[in-house]
Amino acid sequence: MQDTASVVNAKIPLMERALFGARTAWLIVFVGITAFLLYHAAQVRPDASFTKMIPSNHEFVQNYFKYGEDLASLGNAVRVSVETTDGTIFNADYQETLRLITDELNYIPGVNRSGIRSMWTPNVRWSEVTEQGFVGGPVIPDSYDASEESLEQLRQNVLRSGEVGNLVANNFRSALIYVPLNEIDPETGAQLDYHQFSLNLEQKIRAKYQTDNINIQIVGFAKVVGDLIDGALQVGVFFVLAMLITFVMLYGYSRCVRSSLMVLLCSIIAVVWQLGIINLIGSGINPYSMLVPFLVFAIGVSHGVQIITAVMAYRVEGADKLQASRLAFRSLYIAGLTALASDAIGFTTLMVIDIQVIKELAIAASIGVAVIVLTNLGLLPILTSYLGVSKSGVRYLEASQKKEHKVLRWFENFTTARWAKGAVAIAVVMAAFGLWQGQALQIGDLDSGAPELRADSRYNLDNAFMVENYSASTDIFVVMAETAPGQCIAWENMALMDRFQWYMENVPGVQTTRSITYVSKLGMAGINEGNLKWYSINRDNFVLNASISQAPSGLINRDCSMAPMIIYLNDHKADTLNRVVEEVRAFSLQFPSEGLDFLLASGNSGIEAATNIVIEEAQFKMLVWVYGVVIALCLITFRSIRTVICIVLPLMFTTIMSQALMAWLGIGIKVATLPVIALGVGIGVDYGIYIYSKMREALAANMSLTESYSYALSKTGKAVAFTGLTLAIGVATWMWSPIKFQADMGLLLTFMFIWNMLGAMILIPALAYLFKVGRKDKQTVPVM
């Protein structure tokens, strides 16, 4: 590393010379890049693609993709319930409202008009067997004139239609409109715009028809996605809130408006760069990666604070603003780079989770952190070298340095025998409790309804209403029965599918099942005057064909090579899903068939089963990777195994405690919460790195452990505490997100950031004491 420059210059790190040697040029470059990326950042689009949120490479999802188009007509529909709080649905005013809403839904883009079903559509019919054979007609009498007689006739028809519990609520106080959707518009070929569709439902249906005695409930996948996009956008507001709080805290910390604004500005620039680059590489921002700007901002602020603190400290010591900035950079850039590198690499370990949104989050976060290296370690010292810090800030620091800081002093206790042993003992007890509690931790989503949204969200209230008043579960697991083309209704395949349905109905957690075989058996009874003694799959293909002539669409695919076996579940708990998956496989082993494969899995619960499997596999792998990376980086930086243990053990403690917290709060390990652990560890290690690098300086100067820790606290303690709070506040605002998983992420990250901070400030000195770092025999202390 020897250089031809002067001896004085040789002591100055290359990086510092590169940066400060051409301050003006750098400033211009930064301004230029920022302008360029701001333009691109403004074009970032929200992106809530369903396929990105599921593990696309998993076998189940691959099978689902294979038949996605065939299954679409079956699944992608919304159900609009119209409830009267005044009497029953057999009321002229109510029926008029229902008719108007049915008509209105026809004109909402994305709706498959031919498939709409309600009491007011002609495809909803009643039928009964008479001496002459089948008789029947539309449920709405041809002669309907809103009179008492025609309402009574309507009531009779509804009872005969078999739609009670299906289109008509069991208590006759509400009725449904079943609205199938076209994912791709058959005329324009355009993809369904879920956000716009959801908005249309709210404006043209809910807002328009909901009155004092009419309630509208809407459920369905499209509505979940719409609400998700809506809610995710609201989070943008939180960013402004986080910024304001952070500014107040920065000012409170530094008493210097100028440096507070500089830190804020650099952190915002980091966010702009991150968003701009995301857009440049053709990515969008999804409800998960929406977390990244918050993290980038908070991490930027935390590193900026370190710089500002150092600049002020050197100003107190009498350096001029350029000198102070250079010294601040010199003293911090290694620790800063290590910390940021561990963040970035920690985030990239998320790539082991084979789910696109998480990969995007990992990429976005890594980019964000890389950007902070430039903005907050590079741009910020340049800015301070020009603008300096205010005199009031320097005076405040000078004053506070002279004053004993009681809280910080208190932390020094943990370098003494009693406190160190006590702290470690308490941590061990808590970790043991955490491990015990953490055993209750479950994979997957545990709440009913749409787990993405809050239990008390409009959507989930509507969903609960549907579950209560109609007879169908919303947890749907679909197994695809695959045959050679044209063979899906061959007797031997139908008979085995029928057996499969019965087998699955006997699996605990399964409510009921539906498929073409059920329709065929009912059809057989129907052909035979309703006589259930014919409730069986008939070997005669002509009879069998006749039995399914009235089958609703979607129960077999176009070339008759696949029939979905629809399994309604009690819930979507991981146990239930695992059991269903196992039993499907067990059935295939017990009844092997050459012509028929039972392919897993589709339906919301089938996809969730796949997600759970991927998450479960990734969970351990990700922990190994993230800790592996953190340990390797600390080892490279500090060259001491004891140091690594001192830094990593508190992190593990936090990981254990956060898992216990998840178990206690009933938050499962899922797409949203698994990354949090990696983020928590990756960012959490920063505190340890900053504290330990200062301790190392002191230990190198032959100070005792207590003196070294005292030195580290005085130099960086306030900044670490401040960083913990900044990070926590940045993500804590998420707890108010209307999206459940964002709130879960916010809660867990807040918890992890604060615990990591406390862990670093309490357990690092305590562990250092126990490992006999820098006590008596100072020569053997592995400080480097």
């Binding site: 009964e128 067997v129 008479t130 001496e131 009670v164 007797w491 031997e492 008979a495 085995l496 057996r499 019965w502 087998y503 109905e505 006997n506 605990p508 035979n528 005057e529 309703g530 006589n531 259930l532 003694k533 014919w534 409730y535 069986s536 008939n538 070997r539 005669d540 293909n541 002509f542 009879v543 017990q590 009844f591 092997p592 068939s593 050459e594 012509g595």
Partner: protein, 383 residues
């Protein structure tokens, strides 16, 4: 010839499958010889056959499900060597029980339901029906040749045509497998019994099921309507009920049958003989008829329901209970013919009813086992 060879091959295949339990998994799935699985939800399976003898109850249904109970014990699912829909069951005495099902399956237990044996399957039935039908056709053809009256010839040719259709049906079954469902089974004692099937098939045994005789041609049923139910009086008079108002009586244990004047064109699904020996029959759309003279004459009983009635029983106090579609339960006082209609809360089709303890009815139907307490002195509801 080839057809018989095929039939033999099918028969062989059938026995081959049935013979080795370990082998069945290797074969394509066929419910006839696949044992029923023990099911945690057996009591919620669709159940359509129901019988009672002393305090033993037995019910049969989909996927070879057979449930038994003695007195008020828990229902127990029996080990059954088939998975076809078992449509009907008849307890003869403490040991002998017969069950009938789809795909020509007849099962027998000789130890009170503990173990069950296949006694007939659809392939064997086809092998009986095929030569029988050939003989019938030859017989009619000979008769036509011997006749001169054009009208009589026309009539026989019509019959011949019908038999031709039946032959075609058998041909199809030889190809796709036996599909004909038995709809009722009734034994008068351990040796003499009857099994009724779709398309006008009536079988009789006089040696406890060792061999069966086809009696289809003894009934006036040229179109081959389904035979739904066989009733027997204390005096061994038999009544056969079927599709499209089919109603026949036999006074000689089924050897000959007299078509009765039907009061109704719709299908009959069941009937009971009340304590005073009167015949009650019922079927489509809540139609109930009563005969006090062994079927010579009937009159309509006014029952206020439009739902099909599927099954009935006589209570200890002489009242009659009929059950049917949409959970309808009809209680009739036979002396006054006063009918009270109740609706079971499940609203599902009910296929069987027997008296439990006191006013309790045990019901079976599409949602499995259910029960109903007949309210005291209630007037019921309109169905």
């Amino acid at each position: 010839m080839s057809r018989i060879a095929l039939a033999a091959a099918l028969l062989f295949a059938g026995f081959g499958v049935g013979a080795g339990f370990s082998a069945y998994a290797q074969q394509p799935y066929d419910p006839i010889y696949t044992p029923a699985s023990k099911a945690v939800r057996a009591e919620q399976a669709a159940l359509v056959g129901f019988d009672q003898f002393k305090d033993t109850y037995i019910t049969t249904g989909v996927f070879g499900t057979v449930l038994m109970r003695h007195g008020t014990s828990d229902w127990q699912q029996m080990d059954i060597p088939t998975s076809v829909l078992l449509t009907s069951v008849d307890i003869i005495d403490d040991d002998y029980i017969w069950a009938a099902g789809h795909d020509g399956v007849l099962l027998q237990s000789t130890d009170g339901g503990q173990t069950w044996q296949h006694r007939l399957d659809g392939t064997e039935l086809l092998n009986m029906e095929y030569p029988w039908l050939q003989a019938r056709i030859a017989e009619i053809e000979a008769e036509i040749d011997s006749l001169e009256d054009a009208d009589e010839i026309d009539e026989l040719e019509f019959t011949l045509e019908e038999l031709g259709f039946l032959m075609q049906g058998l041909d199809i079954q030889f190809e796709v497998g036996p599909t004909k469902p038995f709809l009722d089974v009734l034994f008068l004692d351990r040796s003499t019994g009857f099994a009724l099937a779709a398309y006008g098939t009536l079988l009789k045994t006089i040696n406890g099921g060792d061999s069966w005789q086809i009696l289809n041609d003894r009934i006036d049923n040229p179109a081959g309507y389904h035979l739904n139910k066989l009733l027997v009086t204390d005096d061994n008079i038999l009544f056969l009920l079927g599709e499209y108002g089919l109603l026949s009586r036999s006074d000689d244990l089924g050897e000959s049958w007299d078509a009765l004047d039907t009061p109704y064109d719709g299908s009959f699904f069941g009937g009971v003989i009340d304590q005073s020996g009167q015949l009650w029959i019922f079927g489509l759309r809540g139609n109930v008829f009563k005969s006090a003279d062994n079927g010579e004459s009937f009159h309509a009983v006014n029952v206020p329901t439009r739902y099909n009635l599927n099954n009935g029983t006589v209570l200890g106090d002489g009242r009659l209970v009929f059950v049917g579609q949409s959970g309808v339960i009809v209680v009739i006082e036979p002396s006054t013919e006063q009918a009270v209609v109740y609706s079971h809360e499940s609203s599902v089709p009910l296929m069987g009813v027997r008296q439990g303890a006191g006013n309790e009815l045990i019901l079976v139907g599409r949602s499995g086992l259910q029960s109903f307490i007949i309210p005291n002195g209630s007037t019921g509801i309109k169905g």
